[in-house]
């Protein structure tokens, strides 16, 4: 069995009385590319945010590499939902990518020449080099998503959490993003991705967590990704979803 690098125990989150996550136990092995799926309101984003300590759980704890979050922060990267920020913020693609280094260089130091060089290389890799000096609002949805990806790559972490990185991108961009993600996985990174499109699960992922407030199933795609499990999570809507 592979090493477990993310370990959730009894994680429970509630917004006013109503549970959003209930008694989540989850063990994620190193080196997988895992999809987190479930219907709207299943708590997928909440799960990620709680793991990253952005939301305080009512009960339970999460450990990464056997340690609490704050001790291993530098090894963990985060790609938030694209809609969660205001893209009118006065900054450029290049600047935004450099933000990926802020966690490592600390609050006061400025990015070094090496950091800048690496940022340019990463922008080349995600296909944004020619847009490096653009203000971030002057980008398409797919390009904005790739800016977030570039920033995450800049973090050079071992474990990544990504909240719907394919949201609102065209087919071509989706292909470009998945190529980068598969490349990351090939380099030994672990990726945890909130995903909506059930059609592409088998092509993109080797591990999956199906959830709806509770964990319904978690494991290798070939074992866990069954109609029965999806039915439990989505109810009768799953057929429509799969055929869509």
């Amino acid at each position: 069995m592979r090493n477990t690098i993310v370990d959730c125990n009894d994680l429970t989150v509630a917004y006013r009385e109503k549970p959003v996550l209930w008694d989540i136990d989850l063990a994620i092995p190193a080196g997988v590319m895992m999809a987190v799926v479930g219907p709207n309101g299943a708590g997928k984003s909440t799960l990620i945010k709680t793991m990253l300590q952005l939301i305080k759980p009512v009960a339970g704890e999460v450990r990464f590499f056997g340690k609490p979050y704050r001790e291993v922060r530098d090894r963990i990267g985060y790609v938030p939902q694209r809609e969660s920020v205001d893209w009118d913020f006065p900054t450029t693609v290049f600047d935004c990518t450099l933000m990926g280094r802020y966690g490592r260089i600390g609050w006061i130091r400025r990015p070094s020449a090496t950091d800048r060089k690496e940022a340019l290389e990463i922008l080349e890799k995600v296909g944004l080099y020619e847009f490096r000096n653009r203000q971030i609002s002057q980008l398409s949805g797919g390009q904005q998503q790739r800016v977030f990806l570039a920033r995450a790559l800049m973090q050079d972490a071992d474990l990544y959490f990504m909240d719907e990185p394919f949201q609102g991108v065209d087919a071509k961009t989706e292909k470009a993003i998945i190529t980068v993600l598969k490349d990351m996985k090939a380099n030994g990174k672990t990726l945890i991705v909130v995903h909506h499109d059930l059609q592409t699960i088998r092509d993109y992922f080797d591990w999956i967590t199906i959830m709806n407030v509770r964990i319904i199933a978690s494991g290798p795609v070939e074992e866990v990704y069954t109609t029965e499990n999806l039915h439990t999570a989505y109810g009768s809507r799953v057929r429509a979803k799969l055929e869509a």
Binding site: Y78, F89, T91, T92, M99, I108, D170
Partner: protein, 370 residues
Amino acid sequence: MSLMDYTVTVISTGAALLGLITGSLGTLAVVRKQSLIGDSVSHAALPGIVLAFILTGSKSPLIFTMGAIVVGWIGTLIVQFMVRNSRLKFDTALASMLSVFFGLGLMLISYLQKTPDASQAGLEKFLFGQAATLMRQDLFLMLVMGIVAFFLVILFWNVWKVMIFNPDYAQSIGIPVKLFDALLTFIQVIAIVIGLQIVGVVLMSAMLIAPAVAARHWSDKLGHMMIIAGVIGAVSSFAGATLSTQIAGLPTGPVITISVTLAVVFSVFFASGNGMLWKYISRRSRKRELSMKLLIKSFYELSLEHEEFSHPHDISVITLRLPDKYNLAGCLERGKNDGFIGNNGNKWFLTEKGLEYARKNENGGELYES
């Protein structure tokens, strides 16, 4: 008063300093979408000033400033608390806090005016500002507070940028967002409070917002925006203050505010990049280019039906291939000037150069990018 007069120098220097500090620090408030923070803090500061006087009996600017900072900050924290813990939206919470604190300040001032003690005289100057009472030690105080604020802004530059843009992400990389949020608010409170004596409680928020709004039209980068806003604030405040000292009866605070606002109006229309004029021109030239491509494309498609690409066509045939609101006459004229097409009276034809242009743009040219 002459331009070299001591009072005039102090007033103009003070105004320039004020514009520099509030202009650049206000940029952070504007990009944080907290433009109204200036209004809330300055109104909340009024009872702080009066209370400071009641408690100490002193009219030293340092004491006033302390009172203004403490109560102004408390007011802002109350607003943030209300937004976090109730269903009130930011603007509602702000409006209620602002009126309550301002009312309290006015009430305290009226009450003091009725008391026989004459030492309270002059507190009402904070309402609309009274630059004439500015003294050299006030400038010194402004300078010191400005330096402290700038020092903090520059020191934690990375933090501000990532925190304002994407707070969740900032938290995930280990920045204690709540703490820095409070610190940033404190820095802005300093910027606001130092302007109260010159501009007054009522007009202070314009000093904070206007230069940043103007600067946004000149730059797309936060750092540049702050510098530009500082310069706009300093220059326009200096000009406004100097003007008000030269013409009897012109009040300094309002003149400064108008002067800063003029900078905004100018920028909105004429700034390169994001100004309206600039956008209009670039939109127009893009539109013209597109209509030219359409026109030449029509000619090209027509020419494919004939042996000679330069076969002449009647205008009516061309019109059929173009959208309804197409400005044909203007485009034909420009096409002719560019050498893409030529005519014999009402018969128009494609030239060699036009053919080349059409072929180059055959697949939509550079209209799209992924």
